[in-house]
């Protein structure tokens, strides 16, 4: 999915954004099927950036277009359809439901999109090493385990854009690599672009372009 930002400044960081930013108050085209890593310290708007593109924030100046459609002109229904069929996201807070089990959390998304079979989902849980937690309530597992659940959930839909908000922050190196590989495989299959945020400026993989906020 092609994303075009034209002099975008989110209201919350209007006074604090850096002029060296590659994103804020610039013209920026994020091409389809490309992988971008947005790195910055905390508090300069990484999550805000992803939320603007996901449509969960609308408080900004400038304009954002997704595949040449201005986000200001999208209705709630348009957003629902985008989130169901084109844009997927691993949220910073993960947005899991603590009273549902691990499997039910994933199912909630998959039943909306009817995208993956239960076997496929179980395979992924296996790959990420959390299949034994399948029937545990999400509220009772660790943050790192939750991150992996959120990643599987995000993959249970067709997408041309995958937004990952510090998805590996609580994973060890090995787990992060496995998860990344899974994500790359799926996004290749979907011919999708990825926007991934991280604290570190070290590229997570050579396939990514680095953008500074």
């Amino acid at each position: 999915m092609e994303i075009f930002l034209d002099h975008v400044i989110p209201h919350p960081i209007r006074d604090i954004f850096s002029s060296e930013s590659n994103i804020w108050n610039k013209k920026l085209l994020l091409e389809s099927e490309k992988l971008y890593q947005i790195s910055a310290a905390s508090g300069v708007g990484k999550t805000t950036f992803l939320n603007l593109i996901y449509g969960s924030r609308k408080d900004f100046e400038g304009s954002i277009s997704l595949d040449h459609r201005n986000v200001h002109q999208l209705s709630f229904k348009d957003w629902s359809n985008l989130r169901k069929n084109q844009v997927s996201m691993v949220f910073q807070g993960l947005s899991l439901f603590n009273n549902l089990t691990v499997f039910q959390n994933i199912l909630l998304k998959n039943q909306l999109t009817k995208q993956k079979s239960p076997n496929q989902i179980m395979d992924w849980l296996n790959i990420l090493g959390i299949s034994n937690l399948k029937d545990k309530p999400a509220g009772k597992i660790s943050y790192g385990q939750k991150q992996r659940v959120a990643i599987v959930r995000a993959l249970c839909q067709p997408f041309q854009l995958l937004l990952l908000d510090e998805p590996f922050s609580h994973l060890d190196k090995n787990s992060a690599e496995i998860a990344l590989q899974l994500i790359l495989d799926e996004s290749n299959a979907n011919r999708a672009s990825i926007l991934l945020t991280s604290l570190s400026e070290t590229l997570i993989s050579d396939d990514f372009f680095l953008l500074k906020l």
Partner: protein, 414 residues
């Protein structure tokens, strides 16, 4: 793609239900649910009573073919002292017939000869003799088949319509005290007695058969043909002939103008409809009070129900935001909320309908036991109220939920 959904526990609705209904305010829902139950039971009961009493008002006996009232003059001391006459004069009759509510006017024709009724003594029942009177109105006002009511010259049997009050007097006064069999309205057709007429040319004997009973006219009716013939043949000319009762045919006997006219002129009527119109007035007040109280309770309970719903939505605000961010539509969430609310409301209204019907049938039973002829109205009309209430309540809840969902989503998008 291979789906093996059968191995999964819980449908989409179940998962959403778990998320959206997980912390509903139980007490608030129970209290408002009970309030709705109580209020709607009272309202349905009130409306049901109204329907039942309207039916009583409408269903007078069917003996009379047209809507009419019977009026007479009040009997005062002057009548007793023979200083005044309780009959209607020609002028008075003319004045009555000029009234706008009068379609037709027909004085009762009285006998101008002496009538005695008697039975002959048998071994078990002693004979009796009593003096009687007859009156007659044109056949067109009566709903009795010709074969039962027609009298032709030479016929020795006179058909008679008897006042219901006389029958009651006989059944509950005379018969019980004398050990005689009681007679119902249905078996009265078998009752006959002898009639002795004493007129200008001597004594004549007839038999009489009671063909029907009415509560609308307090007199003993015979066919007009007989009365005219008998008055001609036996009538004593110097007897007072001005009619003491007048039948007025009207479009609507419950017309209040009739009541005020009768009052103004000092006349009287024993018409059931007019008596009923007073009863109906009180019943209407009772109905209004009952329904208002019921409606007020419903309103309060509905408010509380809606507030409970808002509490539920606010408590699940974060979950709603998350679900919407996953790509769910308003309507999918609305359906989950509304599905359970509709079931809840349906159960509440069903119970209140059953309770109100139990109450109504109890009241109807009392009415029937007190001698009113009442058929229970069909259930359809009573089902109409709960159905309308159900649709109304569901729509109110739907509007509330939609409004709240949009508000919560708007917060998400700030």
């Amino acid at each position: 793609m291979l789906y093996e959904w059968s191995m999964l526990k819980g449908s989409k609705r179940n998962l959403l239900y778990k998320i959206l209904w997980s912390n509903y305010p139980r007490t608030a829902f129970i209290i408002s649910g009970l309030g709705l139950l109580l209020g709607s039971t009272i309202v349905f009961f009130g409306l049901g009573l109204y329907v039942v009493f309207r039916q009583i008002q409408m269903s007078d006996d069917q003996l009379f073919a047209k809507d009419f009232i019977v009026i007479n003059k009040k009997v005062s001391l002057l009548n007793t002292l023979s200083l005044s006459n309780s009959g209607f004069t020609e002028n008075e009759l003319a004045e009555i017939s000029k009234q706008p509510f009068v379609l037709n006017l027909s004085p009762f024709v009285s006998n101008q000869f002496k009538i005695g009724a008697y039975t002959e003594a048998t071994e078990t029942v002693p004979g009796f003799y009593t003096e009687l009177f007859f009156q007659a109105i044109p056949d067109q006002y009566l709903n009795i088949s010709d074969s039962r009511w027609k009298w032709i010259e030479g016929q020795k049997e006179i058909p008679i319509v008897f006042p219901g009050d006389y029958l009651k007097l006989y059944n509950f006064g005379f018969a019980t005290s004398q050990g005689l069999p009681q007679i119902s309205a249905k078996t009265i057709g078998r009752v006959s007695f002898k009639v002795k007429i004493t007129g200008k040319d001597g004594v004549h004997y007839f038999s009489a058969r009671i063909v029907d009973v009415t509560d609308k006219v307090n007199t003993i009716l015979v066919p007009l043909d007989f009365m005219l013939w008998a008055n001609e043949k036996f009538g004593v000319s110097e007897k007072n002939t001005s009619p003491s009762m007048v039948l007025i045919e009207t479009q609507n006997a419950a017309n209040p103008n009739i009541v005020s006219f009768i009052k103004m002129k000092g006349y009287e009527t024993n018409n059931e409809r007019i008596k009923n119109s007073k009863t109906a007035f009180f019943l209407k007040i009772v109905f209004i009070i009952v329904s208002t109280i019921g409606g007020f309770i419903v309103l309060l309970a509905l408010l509380m129900f809606v507030f409970s719903l808002e509490i539920l939505l606010l408590r699940s605000k974060e979950s709603i935001k998350k679900v919407l961010l996953l790509g769910y539509q308003y309507n999918q969430l609305l359906a989950v909320y509304l599905f359970f609310i509709a079931i809840l409301l349906f159960i509440i209204l069903l119970f209140s309908w059953i309770l109100s019907q139990l109450g109504l049938s109890w009241v109807i039973q009392i009415i029937v036991e007190n001698g009113f002829n009442l058929s229970v109205p069909s259930g359809n009309i009573f089902l109409f109220f709960p159905l309308i209430s159900f649709v109304f309540l569901v729509v109110i809840n739907m509007i509330t939920i939609r409004f709240q969902l949009r508000r919560i989503n708007a917060e998400t998008n700030d």
